[in-house]
Symmetry: C2
Amino acid sequence: MDFSSFLTSLGTSFLIFIVLMLLFTWLSRRPGNSVVYYPNRILKGLDPWEGGSRSRNPFAWIREAFSSSEQDVINMSGVDTAAYFVFLSTALAILVLSGLILLPVLLPVAATDNNVKTQKTNGNQTFSEIDNLLMGNVKDDSPRLWAYLFATYWVSLVTYFLLWKAYVHVSVLRANALMAPGLKPEQFAVLVRDIPHAPEGQTRKEQVDSYFKSIYPETFYRSMVVTNNKEVNKIYEKLEGYKKKLAHAEAVYDESKKTGKPEGLRPTTKIGLLGLVGRKVDSIEHYNEKIKELIPKLEAEQKTTLREKQQACAFAFFTTRVAAASAAQSLHAQMVDTWTVTEAPEPRQIIWSNLKMKYFQRIIQQYVVSFIVALTILFYMIPIGLISALTTLDNLKKLLPFLKPIVDIAAVKTVLEAYLPQIALLVFLALLPKLLLALSKAEGIPSVGHAVRATSGKYFYFIVLNVFIGVTLGGTLFSTFKSIEKEPNSIVKLLASSLPGNASFFLTFVALKFFVGYGLELSRVVPLIIFHIKKKYLCKTEAELKQAWFPGDLGYATRIPGDMLVITIALCYSVIAPLIIPFGVVYFGLGWLVLRNQALKVYAPSFESYGRMWPHINARVIAALILFQVTMFGYFGVKKFSFCTLLLIPLPILSLLFAYVCQKKFYRSFSDTALEVASRELKETPNMEIVFRSFIPPSLSSEKADDDHFEDALSQVSRSGSFA
Amino acid sequence: MDFSSFLTSLGTSFLIFIVLMLLFTWLSRRPGNSVVYYPNRILKGLDPWEGGSRSRNPFAWIREAFSSSEQDVINMSGVDTAAYFVFLSTALAILVLSGLILLPVLLPVAATDNNVKTQKTNGNQTFSEIDNLLMGNVKDDSPRLWAYLFATYWVSLVTYFLLWKAYVHVSVLRANALMAPGLKPEQFAVLVRDIPHAPEGQTRKEQVDSYFKSIYPETFYRSMVVTNNKEVNKIYEKLEGYKKKLAHAEAVYDESKKTGKPEGLRPTTKIGLLGLVGRKVDSIEHYNEKIKELIPKLEAEQKTTLREKQQACAFAFFTTRVAAASAAQSLHAQMVDTWTVTEAPEPRQIIWSNLKMKYFQRIIQQYVVSFIVALTILFYMIPIGLISALTTLDNLKKLLPFLKPIVDIAAVKTVLEAYLPQIALLVFLALLPKLLLALSKAEGIPSVGHAVRATSGKYFYFIVLNVFIGVTLGGTLFSTFKSIEKEPNSIVKLLASSLPGNASFFLTFVALKFFVGYGLELSRVVPLIIFHIKKKYLCKTEAELKQAWFPGDLGYATRIPGDMLVITIALCYSVIAPLIIPFGVVYFGLGWLVLRNQALKVYAPSFESYGRMWPHINARVIAALILFQVTMFGYFGVKKFSFCTLLLIPLPILSLLFAYVCQKKFYRSFSDTALEVASRELKETPNMEIVFRSFIPPSLSSEKADDDHFEDALSQVSRSGSFA
């Protein structure tokens, strides 16, 4: 890619961003769109327009984003989001601090040398203005390389310092959230799995109760045996579906009264396959009948489920947070694979179907999944390699000759040349996350938050291995496969020597990601269009409308690995091609700004894990740093800077040491709840019945339950007959 | 070594054993020796002669050993000893079950082939009758090798099966011991380390008390801050020394009254260096004076220590076992490296000077120690290699020519040839354990039991690497060092092909170990002689006498690695040279018998860790098994049994899997106390003041403390002023 096509790409991206931002400014002021641009505020019962963003200047949202505090983020979107912003600002700070030294030092050092020109006069390589600014422009074994060595150390030290500060910060965030005086039901519960067979003449419930009563005579409240809810869920969902359809039909009928004849037109429905064939019936009557049919069926199934479908797992409830936190960390049974007790997930994020899985089954599934993921990562590399080879313009022209006349137009050519490989890559990457999430859930993980973390990890390995290393090595990998086989550590050298050639590719890639990606993010064009279509043609009831604009969450499973890819690219190129740094700064700066707006106003978090993903983020930034240090080691080798190359050896060791110390000092406080945190006093004595009820899945909670509410609050274990 | 010298060695060993056993039978019946042969019974306040072992037949001790139950062993010597017997009987069972199949199958298969003879007629190798029975006598790529392949699988499967049974058994032993209703002070206490700086205006004691009070408002009893006792210990020991000397002098004076003049001869002592120079004084008066001087000094130092020498660690006491067990497993502080809480060791085995060590200091020291141990293991290999090269007779004759006339006598020659290398090895090995124990203590381990486990591990690595692999490869290693460098996995082949040549060495080694080793063990000749010398010339008081016969414990730090070496040798040779199996059976059978006698009557355990060393024993037997499987893989390769060699690949994988499953299923119940175990009811409500007092080191417990005993039992934290 030459310099002009690089500039064109940058310009186009910027233009798209400006257009999308103007679109956002215009669209977000229209009252009909408030549910698309302010859903989180609306869900929290706040006025969407508070702060005057509607009436005043179009950049008010920027001011609001900057003036919002961390506490605002926590209040609106939870600790996980706040931790995510710590990550964004840490990445930003790493790049800014690195850039402040690297840009003024390294660019002049490279620009005043002329390695590339010398090579050009000798050979016939393509050559552009960018290449003059890269480390490649410094001659082999030149004393100027000392500056690059120093730069490598500077970037590493800055990263250590900021990561440490960030870890302490997130640790405090987590502690504060966990010790908050508000009632969080999951802090009073533990998840008990691998319960052994109940002894003769004892129900599961009695078994669990007597076990915990004997260990915790004072703090144990009661237990809830987990049941197999497959059947009851099916009926419940059917019932809810009919209820929705009934509401929809009634809304259609009401509307027809207003618009058409005053007596209205009763909607009809076909009762055959998918409502497309079969006899026509009156919808309202039909659904009412179905609902009447299903209610007793549901009640009967609820009873059967509670009585007969109990599984070997349960939730145990304690009257204090300390007791629950301490129980979740303690070994209960002499046989480690029975009575395993762990922290209870939030009720909303429990993956019920995974709870029953046995100890060794979970371990086996974990290994099986790891194996499948490894295969996936390895085999996705092949199509990506093909795509990046195919989507160069010359190849396209050869493969699809009829495109030639269009492609040869100068403007089209430049744009295509700049974007084609990147777009292909982005599209390709969109296919994977669902697969990885499904795989993660198959590991037997009990909570959605944990599954998302596991997915994020898998996606990170995928993205770094395939996109970063795959694209960098590209075609060269296969041709040089034999040489790698002979000498495995030559892969570092190969990677290092391939890096500079792809600098402009990644510059464009990052620019595309932030301008177009964040532009789309902010303007929410796609959700807006979908919402308006649904509103116009499908939604009749309030519930349907809410479903149409419900925003979802930030989507950490793919968002964090995406950001990780950018920080990996930025770190790895920071010294070789310091030009990447401003791009990285804009990526994280713009990201911080746009997502601050989205976190405060748009997305509604679907779970809260109190920053538990931070250790993973920290570990992966360090992994990116080590990759950077190793490739620099290789590149200094390529530059024949022999003695000083050895000076780089301490860096990866230092990074591993840093990771080890971080892990030792902080990790356990993220995987467990520290007792000093759990022992903080609550605002008021917790109503244990509310805690208990919040864990009942909706398909099992009957309306009648409310009646015996007060009676039960005192009787503790006596309910064993009536409930599970 | 030829066959006759092998038989001579065996015969001599057996003769020595018979002599030692007769010696034991004769000596142990003499009443004056009862303190040497029955000290454990005497310490427990039992009649040494109960069961009539004195009067009746000389083999009564064997009957007694066989008829004793596991519960007897636990009562007399604790759970650790019982677990050690489980190890001995498991090793015995593995070898018996293996031998039952291997001996009748493999010996005829080898004896009827004639690979060795064929080679002999071609070359001029030494050749003995033993070699006919080895796997080496089977021709390359012969179908007879299938029998050896089957044997390898049989040994592996037998080992898995018995190890699993043993692990379950020891786990139950541990659980039963931990849930016993008797009062064990350490079950009510936890060790708290890494306490952060106390806030302004709070004493250390107040800080600890308020911290635990807030987390455990109901179960926390009180705390004891650990102090730097170096000074006070010095004074205390001096005082105790003078007290002993005073008692000695008084005893001497009393004796002189009886034997000499009726007014007696007052003993005198010189007050200069080591009591050898200086002015003569009356001993009794002198020591009385010194004691009078020291008592107030000790009291003053006790006060200073308690007030001013408090360290950043403490013991916290709880009123229930569950609370203590749960606290020891829970994270207390958000910063993981502060307030680390672990199980408290038994008071008698606390290593006080290690308690103050900080979190990261402990980790660093661990790595430093590992590094030093690795160096030790590597560099000890060189002298061992030299010794095994030097101590062949031919070399000795060359080096020390004046020995030639003696050495050339036929009988001397045979004995020397049989024993010299083995004796050199045994002497050499006696030097190391103290060093390793000191290194283990330097890791910052808080209890003696743990330090002994760590030493045992280090010694195991040392012994397997240096003795087993070192001797096997012997001189060949250095000459073939270059070929290993080129192709690292050739070491397996090298090891495998060196094994058969050393079979007779290890047969002799094992025989020497059990006949002479267990003969000395049973007869206790050395302790007996030392005791009688001390009794005659040094001991005057009862206390001195007791010190002279006090038996010490079983010495797991070296005993277990020694047994491990034998099981490693037996496993590795089991298929190549099945003759080793009967030797191994006799080793573990005789060991079981002799040590049963010693455990019941002689040794007094110096700590109790409730079988915590079992996971290590289990892991190391598996390691020995893997070594066996890998060398078999190599040896089948040497035998050019190509296809079936591949059939051995699953075995090491299976072993690793087995180790993994064991670790997952059992390990945590050995490192932590399961709450269901700790929740068993006690015989009576524990007297917490007794629990608390048992942790006060003797140098700090003053006689006055008894006065405020009852007052304190109620006041809990109020004592903070008066004690620590």
